[in-house]
Structures are given as C-alpha cells and as structure tokens.
Amino acid sequence: MTMRAQTGTSGTTIFHPLRRAFGNGTLIVAAIYVALFALYAATQKGVFAISEINDLFNNALPLSVAAAGGTFVVLTRGFDLSVGGVVALSNVMVATVVGDGWPGGLAGLAMVLAIGLIVGAFNGFLVAYVGLQSIASTLGTMIVCSGLALVVLDAPGGTVPDFISNNLTDLAFDTIPVAALVVAALMAIWLVLRRTDFGIALYAIGADETAAGLAGISVARTKFFAYCIAGMLYGVAGYTLSAQTATGNPNSGNAYLLLTFAAIAVGGTAFSGGRGGVIGSMLGAATLTLLQKVLFSTGVSSFYTGIFQGAVMILAVLIAALSARLARGAQA
C-alpha cells in the first residue's frame, strides 16, 4: 500500500511539468500540426511567403474562434450546438445591416457580440438555472438562429463592408497577419481567464459537479457565464467569417457545427469535461483547415476532405487516450 503510494507520487513528478505547461492534448495537436505543416511545405512551394502564411491564418480564424468558444462549454461537460446558428446569424447581419468605415466595423463587432451574448445567456439560463440538457436546449437555439438567419437573408448575398473584409484579412504593419493578432489576443485572454477562480471552476465542474458544489463553487453561475462567453465568441467567429467571404450566406453556419466539435476533440479537450483548453482547440481548428490545404496541394480531390478530417480527429482522440493510459501505467 505504502509502496504503491510512493511510486504514484514519483510518477506524478515526471509527468507534471509537461502536463502543467501544455496539457496532454495541446502537446499532441501541436505535434500533429507541425507534421502536417512539414508535409505541406514539402508538397507546396513558397509556403513561407508572408502572403501564404496570412492565408493560413485567415482560413483558420473563424473555426478557431468558434472552437475556442465551444471549449468553455465542453470543459463544463456540456455541449453547445448553437454555434451553427449564431455564426450564420452574425454573418448575414454583418452582410446586411452594417455600414462601412471604422464606426461601422466597430458597431458590427458590438452587434455580433450582442447577438452571441443574448443566445449564450438564453442557453446558459436554460442549462444552468432551469436544468435542461445542454444538447437539447442548444439544438433548439441553433435551429431558431438558423431560421432567423434565413429571415434576414433568404439566399446567399449581401455585402460585407470593405472596412471589415479588408482590414481583418490584411497584414498589420505589412508584417503580421491581423488574423494572427486576433488569435494571439484570444489566447492571451484565455491564459488570463484560466488563472481566475472562474477558469478553475470550469475545470472543477467538468470533473465532478457535485464535488465542485460542495467545495463552494457556484456551479450554476459558472455554467451560465461559460455559455455567455461561448455565444460571444461564436458571434466573433461569424464576424471573421464575414471578413473572409465578404458576403452573407444563411447556410454558412452548417459546416461549423460539426467542425467546431471536431476541432475541440482534435485539440485534446475531453467531451467528458474537465480536461483540455482553448489553445488546444484553436490549434485543432488550425490543423483541420491546414489539412484541407495539404489535401489540395497534394492533389487529393476535395471530396475526400471529410474522410481525412474525420480520420485525423479519431487519430488525435486515440493518441490522447493512449497517452493517458501510458501515464496511468507509469504510475501503477
């Protein structure tokens, strides 16, 4: 008994620094991304050109932001399907009612944040305070938002103000992709948040809601805010998507629903809650988008994209499961 306990402790100290720094999953997805990028660089010329790198960031940004949002909810062991609806609604709103110039750009951003916050608060209220199942209630809000998007714009069209579509996809100071700045800002916000009581409470609730409550955490309030933050990030995802496509499409959210969850899984966040993080999810989203590019550059038909994306997701989850088993084995 004592022997076991001792080996257990020493096993911990070996794994701890790494786990503390990255979390198992983040390390894995980073490795996958690097491998994929190497393949990309080998098959495609000029990938290190600044314009190519800018493209890479631009393509990955909307999904990364959406996955970052979804992670807040998944960490609490919830599922938030409203992402598809909020992305679409934000997109068509930006394409129809937003004016040009920086005032329009800022007003548009405020608008998508408000849309996301309203939807997120509604989800959070239903899940945290009414006690409904998260999948059921967010499926409902997703369908409502998708419907609203069709009311706003019944077919692809509209125009996204140039201010948004140009500036968000451009290089800042001719050197740094603006999209990279957005990514960096989100990661920085996350690194701050996860060191607050709220951030720690997310992990606690995901691991064991009852125990978290007994330990003094306000479970309902934490969950509520998780859905609010998630909603706002979905709104931002719709905003950045608008900047990419420069047009409105009421069906634009459809692809985001499943890919968001795939990105979160690839990024090492466990659907069972309490494990993972936003940075992993954003890397996961980047991996899935890079994969599309690699398939294109290696001449694989785009019809196969889904197959490979699914395979990468399973691979990432598999590696995470195996490494967790390995870590446990090292302790036993």
Partner: protein, 507 residues
Amino acid sequence: MSAPVPMLVARDVAKSYGPTRALRRFTIDVTPGEVHALVGENGAGKSTLVKILSGAVALDAGEITLQGRPFGPRTPLEARAAGVSTAFQELSLLPNLSVAVNLMLPRQLRGVHGLASGSRNEARVRNILDEFDVADINPRSLVGDLSLAQKQRVEIVRAVSRHPKLLILDEPTAALAEPEWLFRIVERLSGGGTAILYISHRLGEVRRLCTRGTILRNGETIGTVDLAGTRDADIFRMMVGGTLAEPQVRIPTSARAYQGPPAIKVTNLVGASVHGVSFELARGEILGVAALEGQGQRQLLRMLAGAERTISGTIEANGVVIRPSSPAKALRGGAGIGFVPEERKTEGIFLSLSTAANISLPIIRRLTRFGLIDRGRERARVREEARQVDLAEHYLDLKVAALSGGNQQKALIGRVLLSGARQLVLFDPTRGVDVGTKQVIYTVIRRFAEAGGSVLIYSTELAELVHLADRCLALYRGAISGELSGAALSESALLALATGHALEAAE
C-alpha cells in the same frame, strides 16, 4: 443543557426526497469543544443530515441553531461562512486539480498581477499541510494521482484548515491507514473549542474520541447516550431497533440434506476490493451476506456472476471449476448462476421493452420455431412465471419503464427464475420496493431454495437477512469477518461483525 451556549442545536429536523423520508425527526445538541458521535445504520439518514448542515440541501421542517442563532445555509459557502465545515465521506475533491488548488477552492490566492498564483497557493497549502502534520503530500500533485488514503487526508485537512466552529467528519477513517493522525487533530481542535460531529461505524474510535453519542434510526433520533455508561450491544440494539421482535421463528430450508458437492464453492477468491474470500453454499441453502457500504460485497457478487474480473482464487459450481467471463456465461454452461444486479435500471432491465419481452429474454432461443419467436409459447411460459412472482398479468404488455420499482424487480426476478438458474446471486433485491413486494420476493426466494436451489443474497437490511437466511457471512474490508447461523444470527450480532468488531462485542 445548563452552563455554556450550545454550539449546535437541532430540533425535529425533517427532509424528504419525493416519497422517501430520509430524515423524520432529528434532534441533537452539541456543546463547544465536544466531540459528539453520530451513529446509525446505512440509510438511517446520516448523509442527509450532513448535507443539510453543509448547505447542500435545505431542510423541510424543524429548526437548527448555531451558537443560539438560526442556521439554515442555502449553499456550502454560507455554511462555511457561518463556521461549519465538513469532510465528506464521498470526498468533495476534484481529481483534475492540484492539491493546492483544491484546498483553496473556490477562491485562489492572488499574486501581484491579480491572477491566481500557483506559488502563493502552494506555499500556503504547504504551511497548512505542515500545520496538520501531513508530510508526504506534495501540494502540486494532482488529487487524482493520490492514493485513497491520501485523498481522505486532504479532504480532512481542507475541512479543519478553515478553523470551523463546528466540524463535521463523515466516516473520516474509512480509508485512513493511520487513524491516530486524525485523532490528534480532533483532540487539538476540540481542545480549542471546536465542536465536532463525528460520524463513524467504528465504535472503538467513537469511544476513544467521544463522550456522548446520538443514535439515529430510520431518520429519527433514538436517543443521546453517555457512551461510557453504554455497552456496545445496547448501542447496536438502538441502531437496529426492534429488539423485542428479534426471535422470529425461521425454518431452516437446508434442513434437508442434499448429496454431492456444494452448489457453489469459493476458495481464496481475490479481486478488486476482495481479499481472499472462501465459503461454501450448499444446495437448498440461503446464504446471506451482511456488509456496510463498500466492503467488497459488490465485487464479490459480481465476480460470481461473471460481471467482474477475478484476480485469483477459484469458483466451483457443483464441483466443477468455472471461470465465468460474463453473466450470460455464468448462467449457461452448467454453472447455472442467475444474477440480479444492484442497478436494475442500468444493468438489469430493458426499460423500453414490454414486461413480457423482458421476462422471456434469456430463454427466447428455446421459444423459437424455424428461427421465429413462437408468441404463443412465449406467452404461456411468461404467464406461468409471472404467477410465480405474483406479477399481475395485465402488466405483461406494458413497457417495463411504466412499472413501479417493485413490479420491475418482480419481473427481473421472474426472468432469472425462468432462465433456469439453479443458483441465485441477489444483490439487494428488495431495495426501494414496498413492503408487500418484499414479502413476495421472500416467498419466491424461499420456494426456490425449498426446491433445491441455492441462494446467495446481499442485503442492506440486516433484518431481512436474519429473517431469510439460513446462515450469514459478514464482510468487512473485503474479507469475511465472521459467520452466524441459527440462534446466534441476530441483527446486532451481524452489525457488530460487519463493523469489524469481535463477536463478543454484541454479547
């Protein structure tokens, strides 16, 4: 009730969960600096009381005061702010967070940057752990990586480190290797004026630490006794109640002797939480298993039924060694062990199928003609079996989910009987069923044994075992702590064995 202001006073506290009355009339008073024991059987209402005092659930009726002021915490934080902290039996630690973070929940110490500071937390927690003499736990370790005994110490340290006015310790030594460590802490805190509510099954500990004890039975305070003047046997009697009704006449079903090897023979069986158990179950015998929660009974019964892996040891059925790897294999292949598991909703029954289909499931292959189910034959067999277990016929076409818990259990037992099992392994078959259904189940079990079948039954109700079994084993910490039969088989004696006390403790 004279000199000091009592720390905790509770009067007629009641709490129900739906139709279940977990607490009916709980009354207690605890003075400052007192270590007050709270004892009672499983299900007596102790954990409900702990939840009320910790702010996890609200009471329905009655009143509680803390230092003379009304006390009704709505959240665990309110309870803590009022000076009540609890070391929970089921532990309220988060496995994916470090010891330091767990101890500081829900508010971490902040660094100069205003964010949670790992180093400050760890330094503070190191001090706390040192203060309470815990040297072998690193504050940076994840709680999930600790041994159960270490977790329990962290849970206790977390509760005591808040310097509470009232400390609640719920089965604090269940996993502790050296309880002396806890006793020192308890003595230190009570010396400083903290009132401690000490909940334990272990009378030895209780006697060592506490002067008074309150006995809880069926959600009611039976009495508060001066422990020094009360014998263990009397305490056990107060816990189980019904002393006068005890000598029930039982007709031992194994009176008829059967020839041949025992129906089940277990030799040195080792598995998760089971450490070398040996026993024999004769044909026509009803063998009871008594144990407190989590003493390995679940694993033992599941191993016999092939639902859990055995590490070593042998199981023989009718003289043949068997290695059941699934409940289906335990049932077939000559072993003939039928299993009624504890969680009928998740393990036992198909809620969306009709009752008849549930009952006929295990023998459906024998009811087919040209590969199709012969509905007529199915109907006849099921009807026959339903009569056996006293299940009204009109239930057979309903979905099982629509049946009451008692009728579901009847259907489940009916199914096991129909499957042709010759040995029954029953895990708490009467849990959550009404009195009438209990009687039916007892009758079914007796009839089964009289017809030469053998029954191994675990029950959380000791009275049931005394009533039903020919012989009864007590399990304690994964091993058999004793065996009782005939006149010696009484609730208080069983309880003494199940709590790890020598037989003579109960006379």
